[in-house]
Amino acid sequence: MKVIYADNNATTQVAPEVLEEMVPYFHDLYGNPSSMHSFGGQVAGELKEARERVARLIGATPEEILFTSCGTESDNTAIRAAIASHPDKKHIITTRVEHPAVKNLCEHLGGHGYRVTFLPVDRQGRLDLEHLHKALSNDTAIVTIMWANNETGVLFPVDEIAQLVRERGIVFHTDAVQAVGKIPIDVEQIPVDMLSLSGHKLHAPKGIGALYVRKGTKFSPFLIGGHQEKGRRGGTENVASIVGLGKACELALEHLEEENERVKLLRDKLENGILKRIPNAMVNGDREHRLPNTTSISFEYVEGEAILLMMNEFGICASSGSACTSGSLEPSHVLRAMGVPFTAAHGSIRFSLSIYNTEEEIDFIIEKLPSIIQRLRELSPFWGESKTAPPVCS
């Protein structure tokens, strides 16, 4: 069965060009870039080029790029570095819709002497900057706010946020794992101090990430060890993956226009096609300010895992904010923070596309989904004569 992969915010396929560039570093060029011999040393040149390619994608200089093992490590490094550099400050500001890499760390720090402000979002998943303005204080060590939401694709006004935080002289970090490679990003124009990105969200392999640290930002390493990354991150470099990330960033820059035109058109076609054919369906999140590849759609009176399992029978891959898919019993914290009603939150499906998706695939999903939802609604006791439901668990 052909796989129709529409779950690119979860992970992406490694681009063939990326894999091709990586392969030599597993056998012919397996040296350690720190070695004194030229067999190892020659690899250092490749790392340099990869660093330049990553920097170019986000408008940074190569010295400001730090390679890590993943987005989570980048986020942890940034937040830990900021609080370690400002030991007298005991306040952190973030939002209620962050990825677990930020949310759970902030909650953890909340139990270890830090006061954490979780900024709310509105029904469309948008921030009210007035809340941020009020929360900033002389005790604030770091503001960490994501660039794009992984579940809804909603974009936060990082430019305005960064200006606001900068004026107060506070460190600003953004988890841009979902944004890098999908929308234009230029840290020369936007005063973020630190920015996290992850390889496997932009067609590089899993297990490689990067952290942008603006020149002059106070920093202390999270992984203490050797002199690698100028002492900012110990551990022998993951050479093949760094080379892969470099290539993936170069490709992402080339494909940025396609992502924002062709992929966006495919997403819109998918979204509109679904809304037109399926009643009681709604888009979650601000449709204006959104990643070009993402749509989160709720189908009332059906449950998300059941939808995923039925789509799986047709080879269609997507995600759900439903409780049952995650092993937890409550629907996604993002949808709950937005106040999406339970009738809809349990039946939410996220489709996230990439440049590898085709129009035929979108047509196939639009063709198959209505009958899947219809079948499940026929099974549902809430569908039919009375579409009302008791408000709480009984």
Binding site: L329, P381, A389, V392
Partner: protein, 275 residues
């Protein structure tokens, strides 16, 4: 991804007995949209009072739909006396097992059947028994106790898997643990306050602890310890044998003897050596 058995997948993709029985003899509804799963079960009896037709409507995940479908297949043709003996474990077994986190789907099936039978018998709707323990999912202590007993559950996570209790804000986890301990006949330990000891009791306990716990391990290394006096919370001891000349004896005293006494007697104790 959940590991569902082929039978679960089969019952999910090809559910049996979907719908509502017209002119039903029995009807049971459990769950709600807010909970994320709900089941409506209706049945009709034949002349011999056996379940002739039984149908379901389920809102929920794959295993909720499969559990409902399996239940209807299992009890068809049974008398109500036979049907009411079906447990949630029977439903899970029929399906070749369910992931632990999904056992509440089978519990939902059994609950709906119980309700439907009570409806047929004209028994008054059971009032919520016991007290709500999990506010998020409205689960009572009686329900938790039953799940623990019937399925021999030993951890809070298991209870959440079977009843959903504790799956939300998690503030009831301690209460759930207490219920588990009670069912298994264990005294509840967490949060127990150290008993108020009289001076005599305290000295006795210190003496006992030194004899039973501390001395044997010191003696293994050729050392020994002697209790000289107890002054309030200060325990005065004298080290003997190799301990008396050992450079690490102060470490032993603080890290081993003192922490042992604090653990076994009372956390306020301080151990000091008499020269």
């Amino acid at each position: 991804m959940w590991e569902y058995t082929d039978k679960v997948k089969d019952h999910f993709l090809h559910p049996r007995n979907v719908g509502e029985v017209e002119g039903a003899d029995g009807m049971g509804e459990v769950g709600s949209l807010a909970c994320g799963d709900a089941l409506k079960l209706t049945f009709k009896l034949d002349d011999e009072k056996r379940i002739q037709d039984i149908r379901f409507k389920t809102f929920g995940c794959g295993s909720a739909i499969a559990s409902s479908s399996a239940l209807t297949e299992m009890v068809k043709g049974m008398t109500l006396e036979e049907a009411e003996k079906v447990t949630n474990q029977d439903i899970a077994d029929y399906l070749g097992g369910l992931p632990k986190e999904k056992m509440h789907c089978s519990v939902m099936g059994r609950d709906a059947l119980e309700k439907a039978i009570a409806y047929y018998r004209g028994e008054p709707e059971k009032k919520l028994e016991g007290e709500i323990v999990c506010e998020c999912f409205g689960v009572t202590d009686v329900e938790i106790e039953r799940a623990v007993r019937e399925n021999n559950l030993t951890g809070v996570e298991d209870v959440t898997g079977y009843t959903k209790a504790g799956g939300g804000c998690e503030s009831c986890h301690e209460k759930i643990q207490e219920i588990i301990d009670k069912v298994h006949g264990k005294p509840h330990v967490a949060g127990r306050k150290p008993p108020q000891l009289t001076n005599i009791q305290k000295i006795q306990l210190i003496q006992e602890t030194l004899e039973r716990e501390v001395k044997p391990s010191l003696q293994k290394d050729g050392g020994d310890i002697e209790l000289i006096d107890v002054d309030g919370n200060t325990v005065l001891v004298k080290l003997r044998g190799t301990c008396a000349t050992c450079v690490a004896s102060q470490v032993t005293l603080k890290h081993y003897v003192e922490s042992k006494l604090r653990e076994m007697v009372t956390p306020e104790l301080v151990v000091e050596e008499v020269q």
